[in-house]
Symmetry: C2
Subunit: 212 residues, 2 copies
Amino acid sequence: MSTAPAFKRLPRAVREQQMLDAAVKVFSRRGFHAASMDEIAEDAGISKPMVYAYLGTKEELFVACLHREGTRMMQAIAGAAAPDLPADERLWRGLKAFFGFVGAHRDGWAVLYRQARGEQPFAGELATMRARLVEVVAGMLDHALRAEGREITAVDLEVVAYALVGASESLADWLADHPEADPEKTATRMMNVAWLGAGQLLHGVTWRPPAG
Amino acid sequence: MSTAPAFKRLPRAVREQQMLDAAVKVFSRRGFHAASMDEIAEDAGISKPMVYAYLGTKEELFVACLHREGTRMMQAIAGAAAPDLPADERLWRGLKAFFGFVGAHRDGWAVLYRQARGEQPFAGELATMRARLVEVVAGMLDHALRAEGREITAVDLEVVAYALVGASESLADWLADHPEADPEKTATRMMNVAWLGAGQLLHGVTWRPPAG
DNA sequence: GCGTAACCCTACGCACGAGTAGGTATGCTC
DNA sequence: GAGCATACCTACTCGTGCGTAGGGTTACGC
């Protein structure tokens, strides 16, 4: 007869999720480097070696966080923007889903994301995700273009898509820093800038630099 | 007669610039945390205590880098976008100056900038700079609006400005990662998205979410 | 009921890098 | 050429936090 342990033995899958929850929380609050594995372990209600046993080193743990949250976000967007809708409708729904997700995870995703931009080890992971987003947006624009019998070079298409994704990311940052702001209203504003701009381009209106 | 020292005695102002040059280089390559003061000192051709004596702690050094580079950038933009020009001309010149600057400092500014977004201690410094930019852009749009006898809420104005600045920042990131890309061409593309979009808004065209 | 695998812990080693103590050489002023 | 400020160095201290060694306990199959 030993004293009843204060902790519960839980299956691996459950603990892993708890650890990831804790890691997202701590990484967000402190930043990648200032976060300590001890704090993450404590927050998860577990001891440090368990974290190493299940999720590996600190870097691997961070990538795991990024991956889980990123996948969730992509699913939220993909689920909202059905591919058979017209382009503007898809863009609108995608934006709404995106800002809705960020709004619901202000302290989680957005901050994790900011971290990842800086540290080289994670830039790749992030670039992959962004590339997927850009591809989706570019595909959307291209589809709308072809429907009008128009063409545009692949690079131009990519850059426009990149600008739109970038603008959205920045507004997401802004949203994360403004707890009082409404995600849907932010999405509307983004749609205004993005669609009216992209819409003009789609109709063949282009801006040209003044001569000289 | 002592052996001639390998180093030269230089006035403080000169050494400080050398140190900042080295710091920008090392911070960019390694990231804030992975960069060591030893490496920065070595790269500057000086010993560590000199860095501490002149520029202070690691954080202070980083802020000094950010400040110098940021000031240079703001000057480049301000010098290009004279306030008496029409709004579209100002925006175009500002964008050209901005992307020109980033293109000329690909490894310096852009990476430094990315670092600062993540680490809390520097977020403030960065936010200040961004706020100045947003203010300038918002003022530009507001001016153009009033010239047409139109009005818009301050928040909407700020968010649109924020989106434009954000999109530009993202394209700057893209530019930094694509050594072959042409800064002016990138500025043109940004102008297309920004101005056609903003231009529509300025003419009273707005996008509204579908009902339901 | 008994072996074995899965969970889980306490306690440490150890490297790394920020920041400092204390001292030396050089040039400038009068 | 004595005095003084400035430029500069070598060689440490010391905290912090990643990652691990080694061992205990509970559940589950058979």
